[in-house]
Subunit: 342 residues, 2 copies
DNA sequence: CTGAAAGCGCTTACAG
DNA sequence: CTGAAAGCGCTTACAG
C-alpha cells in the first residue's frame, strides 16, 4: 500500500515494521516493543500500534527477527517415519507440550536412513534451532559431529541413554523385548520365534532382549530368528509368517517386533485356518489401536509414545531456558497387555 | 574459532560467511557465489572456499539468506491430522516430489480445527513461504483473508475446486461417496446406513454422495444416517455399529465414511457373531493397508493420496517458478475395491 | 516510557 | 571472473 519502496529497491513488497510505525506515528523501536513486549509501552502508543498492525495486516518477517535477535525459536524434530503411528503419537505429544510456547516445530522424516538424517540435519541446522529432538541413540559419525559442533541442546527419544550426560526420554527397548519373551516362556512356550523388520535400532534391541530371555531359559536357537531389512507392514507380517512356518514348523509362539507384523501374521493364520493362540501364539509390540479390537485381540507391549514426545519436549524446553532438569534420563516404562492372541 | 567478535557484539558466535571468506583469502561475495553459484567462480577460488567451508564446518544462516534474498525457499503444508494414514501418505508424496529441490517443507497439523489452522497459518506466513499446500477447499473467513493478502501461491489438496482459477489436486469426494452407495444398491441392499465421524469436509461430501444415490433410488431415509463429531477411530466404529443396530435393526448394509470406522464395525460384528457380509454388508473408504488383509477383507474406495501429494507439490512448484501449469484442476480419480465385506 | 543508531549475516545490483 | 557498498527487516544495547 501507500508509498512503499522507490525504484530499484530489493524490498519484498510486504508491509514492514517501519511502515506500521509510521502509520501509528511512533518510532520503529516502539512498534517493535509494542508487539514483542507490550507491557513496556504506554497504553496509548500500544493501542495506536495495535491498530496500525490490524489496519495494514502486518505480518512480521521471521527471518529478520531471527537474524536480529540471534535466536530462531525453532525446535527441530527428526523422526524415522511418519507412516508409523508410533512416531505420529510422539509428534502429537511434542506439539501439545510446546503448544503454549512460541516455538516453531520443524519436522524432519529421515525414513530410517542415515543419509537422509544427515541431509535433514544439515538443512535444519541452517535454521539455527534452539533445540533438537532426536529419535534413537544411534547416529552416524557425521550426524554426531554435526550435532557436536552445533552445540544445540539435544534430547533423544524412545530409548534410554547409557551415559547420564546425554538427555533421553523413553524406556528400555531391550527390557521390553525380554519381558515379552519371558511372558511367552511362562505360558509354557518353548519354540518361540522372533520376527523382525526394518532392522532399526529399536527392533535390534528388542531382539537382544528376546535372545537374552531365550538364552537364560536355555532355549536359544538362531534359526528361530527371522529378520529382514524391509519396512514393517501388515503384508510383510503375512509373508514372514509363511516363511517362518515353512522353515520352522515346530515353532509354537511368535514374538513380532511390532504390531503391524503381528497383525499380518494373525490375518495370515486366519486365512490358513491356524488357530491363534491354540496352535500358535502371536504377540506384537506397541499396542496400536487395532490390537485391542481385532479377533483374537493382540497380546502386545503398550508403549508410552505420546508421553515420550511430551516429556522430551518439556525437558528440552527446560534446558533451552537454562534450567537444570531434575533428571537427564526419564524412564517412562512399558506395559505388557496380555490379551487373547498369546 | 580464531578472532571472532570483539567485546559487546551481538554476534551469534557461529562461523559466518565473512570468516570463511577471510580464511579462503577472498571477498565475502566471492565466498557467497562459490557456495550458491559455483559455476561463476574460477576453479582455484572455488576450491579455496570449499576447503574453508569444510575446515571451519561452516553452516549458512538461513535467516540471513532469506532476508537478503527476499525469498525463503519454504513451502508450507497444512494437514488436518498426522495420525490419519491418508495425510501421512500425502506428505510422503509431497516430500518425494520436492526432494531434489532446495525447499524446506514446513508441516502444520491443524487437528481438524479452524482456530488451529488460523494460528498455524499466521505463524507460518511469517516465514514468507514461496507456496502453500492446503487440505480441502473449505476454510474460515480469516484463513481466506490471510491467504488473499499474502498473495502466496496455493494448491488445494484432496478435493476438486469448482472455480477453475483455484488450483486443486484430488478427486470428487462426493462422486466417490455416490459410487460406493450405488455399488451397495446394485448388490441388492435397500436399507443402507451411513456412518460418519469428525464431520470434516470430506466426510460431509461423501455423505452428500450417499444421499444423492439413495434419493435417486427412492430409498432415502434420514434415520439411516449416523454422524458424530468425534474423531474417527476403530473404537468409535465399534461403538457406532452398536448404536446403529439398536436404532435401525433392519439395516442391511453400512457405508462407513472411512476405513477406521469400518474396521471397528467389522470387529464388533465378529464379537457379536454377526456374519459379514451375509447378515450385514460393511464397506469403508480409503483402503488402508489392513483392509485388504483382514477377514473378511474390506470393500472400500482406494484413494490416490500419495499421488495427490506428489502432483500437488509438482503443480505448486511449477506455479512458483512462474510456469503456466497445463491444468489448474487435477482429477486423480478413485477406485472401488470390491472385496469380501460387501 | 520513547527513540536514533548500529548491527545481525547474508545477497543484490553495480563496477571493474 | 572478482569485489566494495548498500540493504533486506528486524532487535539490541544505549541514551534521554
Amino acid at each position: 500500500m501507500s508509498k512503499t519502496s522507490n525504484g530499484k529497491s530489493r524490498a519484498s513488497g510486504r508491509i514492514t515494521l517501519a511502515e506500521v510505525a509510521a502509520h501509528a506515528g511512533v518510532a520503529t523501536m516502539t512498534a517493535s516493543r509494542a508487539i514483542s513486549q507490550p507491557e513496556l509501552v504506554s497504553p496509548l502508543l500500544r493501542g495506536r500500534v495495535e491498530r496500525a498492525v490490524a489496519e495494514l495486516a502486518y505480518v512480521p518477517n521471521r527471518a529478520a527477527r531471527a537474524l536480529a535477535s540471534a535466536q530462531s525459536n525453532v525446535i527441530v524434530v527428526l523422526v524415522p517415519s511418519l507412516s508409523n503411528a508410533v512416531f505420529t503419537a510422539v509428534l502429537a505429544g511434542i506439539q501439545d507440550a510446546l503448544d503454549a510456547d512460541h516455538y516453531q516445530i520443524l519436522i524432519g522424516n529421515t525414513r530410517y536412513s542415515d543419509a537422509e538424517e544427515e541431509k535433514l540435519l544439515g538443512i535444519n541446522l541452517q535454521s539455527n534451532p534452539d533445540g533438537i529432538l532426536l529419535s534413537g541413540l544411534t547416529h552416524s559419525p557425521r550426524v554426531r559431529q554435526m550435532l557436536a559442533t552445533s552445540r544445540v541442546p539435544i534430547v533423544s527419544m524412545m530409548d534410554l541413554a547409557s551415559e547420564p550426560t546425554q538427555l533421553s526420554v523413553g524406556f528400555s527397548q531391550q527390557q521390553a523385548g525380554q519381558a515379552m519373551t519371558r511372558y511367552l516362556l511362562d505360558k509354557g512356550h518353548r519354540r518361540i520365534a522372533f520376527l523382525g523388520a526394518q532392522r532399526d535400532e529399536r527392533t535390534l534391541k528388542r531382539a537382544d532382549g528376546y535372545r537374552a530371555a531365550m538364552a537364560a531359559a536355555g532355549l536359544a536357537d538362531p534359526r528361530l530368528e527371522l529378520m529382514v531389512d524391509a519396512p514393517s507392514t501388515i503384508a510383510l507380517g503375512a509373508e514372514l509368517l509363511g516363511r517362518l512356518l515353512a522353515e520352522m514348523p515346530d515353532c509354537d509362539a511368535i514374538f513380532c517386533c511390532n504390531d503391524d507384523l503381528a497383525h499380518g501374521a494373525i490375518y495370515q493364520c486366519q486365512r490358513r485356518g491356524i488357530a491363534v493362540p491354540q496352535q500358535l501364539a502371536i504377540c506384537g509390540f506397541n499396542d496400536l489401536p487395532a490390537s485391542a479390537w481385532m479377533s483374537p485381540s493382540l497380546t502386545t507391549i503398550a508403549t508410552p509414545r505420546y508421553r515420550i514426545g511430551f516429556e522430551a519436549a518439556t525437558l528440552l524446553r527446560a534446558v533451552i531456558r537454562g534450567e537444570t532438569p531434575p533428571a537427564t534420563r526419564i524412564d517412562l516404562g512399558f506395559t505388557l497387555m496380555a490379551r487373547e492372541s498369546a
